[in-house]
Symmetry: C2
Subunit: 402 residues, 2 copies
C-alpha cells in the first residue's frame, strides 16, 4: 500500500487541535475531550443500531445529516442515555457551550457521551468544563483527548497514517475507546477519525461506512451493543489536494488508508477488552454466502463457553463446533473443518487425529491466534476479532458502579 | 390444580425401575443410568435444534418416530457427538447391549449421552457397564439414576406429581441434568419424564412439546445450545386409566401436571446453573406480540453485562434497557417500564425517581427476584428463567477438561 503508518492521533492531520481535561464528571481522572478543526469540515458518522439511543447520538445524527461540523465535544463518566427530554436538552446545551467557547455555530458541534446509563449530566460541571476545555485545545492535545474518553479502558488508543494525493501529503488520524458493551454493530465504543484531505461529504460517508464494516463492526468483546456507539470522521480539506471522490484516481488508496486507521483502532479495542488475555481472529470460509459466514463468526465470538475455554487454554474444539451448529447458518455437520492457526483440529466434523488436543493446546497457549472454520459449502467468508472471557471480566462488570 | 406434588422421580409411576452406576467412563463417580418400563411405553421426545447433532440424538429421534420404547440407557462423561460413523455405531451398540440385558428388542431402547464432545466412547467399558446396570434396575433406583446423569451439576434433580384420572391414581415422575450449555432451545440438558398413565402417543408428543416450551425452552444459563439436548417421556399405561387423549375430560389436568414436573425440573436446572448465585424470572409484557416478548426476554437473560451485574448486586437498570434496545423487538424507547419484583425502577424509559438505585439494590440482594419489562405496545408476553454469571462460571468453564 502506498501509505505509511505514523505516530499520533486526531491532531496528526493539518488544522486539527484537541484537548482532554478532568472536568469533574467522573470522581477522578480526565473525563472531557474536545476535537476542533480550524475550518468547517465535511462530516460522516456511523451510529449504534440499538433502538434505545442516547441523546447525543440523536444530536450527532442530525449534525451528520447536515454534512458539516467544526468540533466534537465528548464526555466520559455519563452516557446521557435514557435521560428523557432533560437529556436531549443537556446534549444541546453541551453543543451551545462549546460553540460559544469556540466562536462557531452550535449546529457545527457534535456531542458524544459514554459512561453510566440513566443518570442526568451535572450541567454546572459540564458548563465549567467546556469553558475550560475550549480554551485549552492544541496540536499537542491529541493524546490527552484520547485519555479523556476512556472508561474501563486500560490504555488509550490512537492511530494515524499518511499518503500522497495529487502530490500533497494527506494525513488521517484517529482515536477510540472500548472496552465493554462491545458487539459487532457498534458498542459503547466511540471512535473519532480526522483527515486534512478534501473529501466530498457523501463519499466520505460511504468510505466511513465501508471502513467501519470491516473493523468496528467486526469486533466482539461481550456481545452487548450499547446505546451510545458512535464513529465520526471529520475531513477539513487543509491538505490542499483536489477534492477526493469515488471517481478520483487515488480514492482506493484513501479508503485503504482509512481502513488501516479504523482497523488499528478496532484491534486495539479488542486487545484492551475488559479482562481480555487473548486476541483471537475468527475466520469462516466455505459458507453458503457471506451472511452465513458472519453468523458463524459471531456465534463463535460471542459464545461464553468458547470464550471461557480460550481463557483457560482448554483445547476444546467441541464448544466451537457446537456454536457453529446453532449459528443459524446452512451447514453439513460432516463437512466442517476447523483450524487453529495452520493446525487442522477437525476434519469432516470429527477429530482430525490423536494429536489434536496437544496441537490445539500449543496454539492457544499464545496470546494471539486464529481460529478458522471451513464449512466447505460455498464461497461465503468473513472475519471477526474477539477476545476471551476471564475472571477479570466478571470482576469489572460485577463491581462497575451504575 | 387437582394434583399433588409427591417425593420421587422417574420410578414414582407404576412399572418403572431405574439404576445408576459408576461404569468407568468418567474418572470417578456414577456415569451410567438406566430407566426401564415393565411394559412397552408410548414415547415422546423433544430434541436440540442445533444442526450439529450427536449420534444418540439421531437414534432417539428414530425410536421416538416409531412411537414405542421400553428403556432408556444414558451415560455421562462423553457426549458421543462429532464422532462420525463410529459414533453412530457406538450408539446402536449401546442399545443392543441394553436390549440383550433386558430381553427386549434393540428398537425399543433409547440412548442418551452427555459430556465431552468429539471423543469416542470406550465401548469395552460401556459394554461391561450395560451388563452390570441391566441387572441392577429397581424401583428404588430413581435417585441413583438421577445422580448418574450429572456432569457439572452440583445436585441431582427429580420431581413427581400425582393426580386422579377415571378414579385411578396416575403418577408422573421425572429427572433432569444441567448445568452448562443451557439455552432456551434445549441445551446439554437431558430430562426424562415417566408416567403410568395410558396416553395416546401423538397426544403424548403434543403434551411434551407444550410442556417443554414453557419450561425447558424458557431457561438460560449461558446461551449456548448443545448438540445433545433431549427430553424423553415414557407412558406405560399401568395406572389402568382409560386411554388419555386430547378429547378426554381430564386431558387439561394431565397436561398441567406434566407441566408442573417439567417446570420443577427446569427451575432446578437454572438454580444449579454453573456458578449461579441468583435465580431471576425475566418477564416481558406489552410487546407487539409473543415473539417479540420472547426476543426481549432472551436478550436480557443472555446479556453477559446484565448477568454479571446481577452477580455483583449492581443496581444497573441501564444494562437491562440496553439489552431491550438491541433485542430486535419493536419498541418505543419512551414507553419502556421496568420493575424489580414490584418496585418500579424505570418509567417511560427513564429513571422512575431518586430512590431507584436503592430500591433495585434491595430487591437484587435476594437470591431470587423477578425483573419485568413492560413495552406498553401490545399484548405480547413471555417469561424466561435465568441465572447470573459469576467467577465460578468462568472457573468451571475455563478449567473443564475437553
Amino acid at each position: 500500500m502506498n501509505f505509511k503508518i505514523i505516530d499520533g492521533g486526531v491532531t496528526a492531520p493539518k488544522g486539527f487541535k484537541a484537548a482532554g481535561i478532568a472536568a469533574g464528571i467522573k470522581k477522578s481522572g480526565k473525563d472531557m475531550a474536545l476535537i476542533v478543526s480550524q475550518q468547517s469540515s465535511a462530516v460522516a458518522g456511523v451510529f449504534t443500531t440499538n433502538k434505545v439511543q442516547a441523546a447525543p447520538v440523536l444530536l450527532c445524527k442530525a449534525v451528520t445529516a447536515a454534512g458539516k461540523a467544526s468540533a466534537i465535544i465528548i464526555n466520559s463518566g455519563n452516557a446521557n442515555a435514557c435521560t428523557g427530554a432533560k437529556g436531549s436538552e443537556a446534549a444541546a446545551l453541551m453543543a451551545e457551550f462549546t460553540a460559544a467557547g469556540l466562536g462557531v455555530e452550535p449546529s457545527q458541534v457534535l456531542v458524544c457521551s459514554t459512561g453510566a446509563i440513566g443518570v442526568s449530566l451535572p450541567m454546572d460541571i459540564v458548563e465549567e468544563g467546556v469553558l475550560s476545555i475550549t480554551g485549552a485545545a492544541s496540536v499537542e492535545g491529541g493524546q490527552a483527548a484520547a485519555e479523556a474518553i476512556m472508561t474501563t479502558d486500560t490504555v488509550s488508543k490512537t492511530a494515524a497514517v499518511q499518503l500522497e494525493i495529487d502530490g500533497k501529503t494527506v494525513t488521517i488520524g484517529g482515536m477510540a475507546k472500548g472496552a465493554g458493551m462491545i458487539e459487532p454493530n457498534m458498542a459503547t465504543m466511540l471512535a473519532f477519525l480526522t483527515t486534512d484531505a478534501d473529501v466530498n461529504q457523501s463519499d466520505l460517508q460511504e468510505c466511513l461506512t465501508a471502513a467501519s464494516n470491516v473493523s468496528f463492526n467486526r469486533i466482539s468483546v461481550d456481545g452487548d451493543q450499547s446505546t451510545n456507539d458512535t464513529v465520526l470522521f471529520l475531513a477539513n480539506g487543509m491538505a490542499g489536494n483536489s477534492s477526493l471522490n469515488k471517481g478520483h484516481a487515488d480514492w482506493a488508496s484513501f479508503v485503504a488508508a482509512v481502513e488501516t486507521v479504523a482497523m488499528d483502532l478496532a484491534v486495539k479495542i479488542v486487545k484492551d477488552g475488559e479482562g481480555a488475555t487473548k486476541f483471537v481472529t475468527v475466520n469462516v470460509r466455505g459458507a453458503q454466502d457471506n451472511i452465513d459466514a458472519l453468523k458463524v463468526c459471531r456465534a463463535i465470538a460471542n459464545s461464553l463457553l468458547v470464550k471461557t475455554s480460550w481463557f483457560g487454554e482448554d483445547p476444546n474444539w467441541g464448544r466451537v463446533i457446537d456454536a457453529v451448529g446453532y449459528s443459524g447458518a446452512e451447514l453439513d455437520p460432516q463437512k466442517i473443518d476447523i483450524y487453529y492457526d495452520d493446525f487442522c483440529a477437525v476434519k469432516d466434523g470429527c477429530s482430525a487425529g490423536p494429536d489434536v488436543i496437544e496441537g490445539i493446546a500449543k496454539v492457544i497457549a499464545g496470546e494471539e491466534f486464529s481460529l478458522s472454520v471451513d464449512l466447505n459449502l460455498g464461497d461465503g467468508a468473513d472475519t471477526v476479532y474477539a477476545c476471551d472471557c476471564s475472571y477479570e471480566y466478571v470482576k469489572i462488570n460485577s463491581e462497575y458502579t451504575t
